[in-house]
Symmetry: C2
Subunit: 137 residues, 2 copies
DNA sequence: CTTTGTACTTGCATTTTGCAAGTACAAAGA
DNA sequence: TCTTTGTACTTGCAAAATGCAAGTACAAAG
């Protein structure tokens, strides 16, 4: 059992996903519909295989992701967000908004523009979508 | 000049503050009224001095913090949030809410309860406070 | 019975972090 | 003047995390 640094909720959150990769995996599942190890590897940030395995196992251990065998392919695993994982949505959306606002290299695409116009609406919409996915599992 | 991993705003954000310490410094300034190197060192997470110096310089280089000599003590520096830094507020608040919701070790204190009741109100309130500080500098 | 797809695992070099100790320098006190 | 205190770093070294290249395992398809 590792000791936590403090009982500050921000510090506790950072101990779980305060690194350069975890939230990218969450983004891939949450906003891009990715499901499997090989799909995560394809993302443009080029995560290394050992880091990916490590992050997936940490996120699963933290009950942010759940892992099960694909119903169509028995040698494939499907990763999906739990309720706890889905609740990271507002953080992801806020980071997307901030990143797009202050980084000239990150032009707002479709979702970025929608967030700028109606952030609360986007969050509601995606909560709905993601919730339905969990319910139907 | 370092190359960025991608033009995804989430990835770009993580390249700036995707670590276990940067957002704690932001928290200290934003929510706890801390201003100086020695105050940051006192926080319960016990950041090491070399990490603190490094993060302060990165955050300053990114124009998230600004640094100036204290008006009352010429051997002291005052760090304060820029507009770009203040705009991290929603991310901080969302992380606080998520951390408190899912971590039994992180009981909601006064601010945490306020966030649970009226998150948008808290964000408005703190934006107001922080904006005034910047204006009066 | 070989190839393909999927998911890892391993080894090793590099980078980042964590910890303890020391430096620099202005202001205050004896 | 000399010493102590407060503030902000800097350095050295060990440990941990990351990045990269290569390899393994194993089910399914041909």
């Amino acid at each position: 059992m590792e000791k936590t640094r403090s009982d500050c909720p921000i510090s506790c959150s950072l101990e779980v996903f305060g690194d350069k990769w975890s939230l990218l995996i969450i983004r891939d599942i949450m906003l891009r519909g990715k499901l499997s190890y090989s799909e995560f590897l394809e993302s443009e940030e080029k995560i290394a295989t050992n880091i990916l395995v490590n992050r997936l196992s940490v996120l699963e251990a933290e009950h942010i992701l759940s892992k099960r065998v694909s119903p169509t392919n028995r040698s494939k695993f499907i990763y999906s967000l739990t309720k706890k994982g889905i609740d990271l949505l507002p953080i992801i959306i806020e980071m997307m908004d901030w990143g797009a606002k202050y980084n000239p290299n990150c032009p707002r695409k479709e979702l970025g523009k929608k967030i700028k116009k109606d952030k609360a609406g986007v969050i509601r919409e995606y909560f709905g979508k993601l919730k339905r996915q969990v319910d139907s599992q």
